[in-house]
């Protein structure tokens, strides 16, 4: 089990890639962001970006799934209090393959809740041409290692 103490500032990870199909772009946007440039290829040609592009929320949700899929080892993850900043830098298009990197940029124990730690991680998302499409800086809460857990016994043995 990965606890707060196992996470350090500077920890870097590469997340598994994710393919974004036209069908998925249209299906996501039809449900959550039905603007013409996300759901209608013909109409999109006459709009600001000139072609069908993924909803930014679709790109964000794809990153959330990539983060989940990257975490093969169980984590004492207690949810997220929020996102400090998310930037949509370039459009994501049908057929794009996204990759992402993460780096822990802050880590501190909670002052109000003993036994809990907070980490801030910066995620950078790129497409197959290495174009930087999105950045997210988000907080996560983790349980601290329990004083007498079996993990600790294993670690010290």
């Amino acid at each position: 089990m990965i606890y707060f103490e196992d996470i350090s500032i500077g920890d870097k990870e590469t997340l598994p890639v994710r393919h974004i199909s036209k069908e998925e772009i249209i299906a996501f946007a039809t449900e959550y962001d039905p603007q013409p440039h996300h759901i209608d290829e013909e109409a999109a040609k006459h709009m600001l970006l000139g072609e069908l592009v993924a909803s930014g929320w679709h790109t964000a949700c794809s990153l959330i799934r990539m983060i989940f899929d990257a975490n093969r080892e169980a984590r004492a993850f207690l949810g997220s209090p929020g996102v400090e900043e998310l930037r949509w830098r370039r459009p994501v298009k049908p057929g794009d393959t996204l990759r992402a990197t993460s780096e822990v940029i802050e880590a501190r124990r909670s002052k109000s809740k003993p036994g809990l730690g907070l980490t801030k991680t910066r995620f950078e998302v790129f497409n197959q041409d290495d174009v930087h499409v999105m950045t997210m800086e988000t907080w996560a809460m983790f349980a601290c290692r329990p004083p007498s857990s079996s993990d600790r016994a294993e670690a010290s043995s």
Partner: protein, 157 residues
């Protein structure tokens, strides 16, 4: 058709975007696809989590904001006969998930025009910042964030 430009936006206007009830089925379906943490997908396992029961993914709460703002804007544009000159977003800031959203909760979403930012790099555009909130059936604010949208400035005569 009347075009609404950056200059036409009045600051401080609070718009009600609509309401949405989160069912357990809906919470599980969204999270299974995008954010499959056990406290979002498994009502039994969620009882032993920090939340003490199933809660909606924060990203689910976010995308419903998008769904409602698109519906509300399209409705108003149709009814009042105008178009917004812009709307593409460079991203958001300070997203805070303040209170868990549980099955049966009904959230009402609000968006308030909060600030206008000029762009040195693209003088024909400005950024409109909005303050956004989701409030549950008990009047408790469960989510807030600062949204941003590019708006075209009124073309020079």
């Amino acid at each position: 058709m009347k075009m609404i430009y950056f200059e036409d936006i009045e600051l401080g206007l609070r718009e009600e975007l609509g309401s949405y009830t989160f069912t357990a089925e809906d919470i599980i379906q969204f999270a299974s696809e995008w954010d499959p943490q056990v406290f979002h997908t498994d009502p039994e396992a969620a009882k032993d989590s920090i939340f003490g029961g199933l809660v909606a993914s924060g990203w689910h709460v976010n995308v419903i904001w998008m769904k409602l703002i698109v519906a509300s804007r399209l409705n108003r544009m149709r009814k009042e006969g105008f178009r917004m000159a812009g709307g593409v977003s460079p991203g958001f800031k300070d997203m805070k998930w303040l209170v868990p959203v549980r099955p049966g909760d009904t959230l009402t979403y609000f968006s308030t025009s909060a600030a206008k930012v000029d762009l040195k790099s693209r003088p024909e555009f400005g950024i409109l910042q909005s303050h956004n909130e989701a409030v549950n059936q008990d009047g408790v604010t469960v989510m807030t964030f600062t949204g941003q949208a590019y708006m075209r400035k009124r073309p020079k005569e």
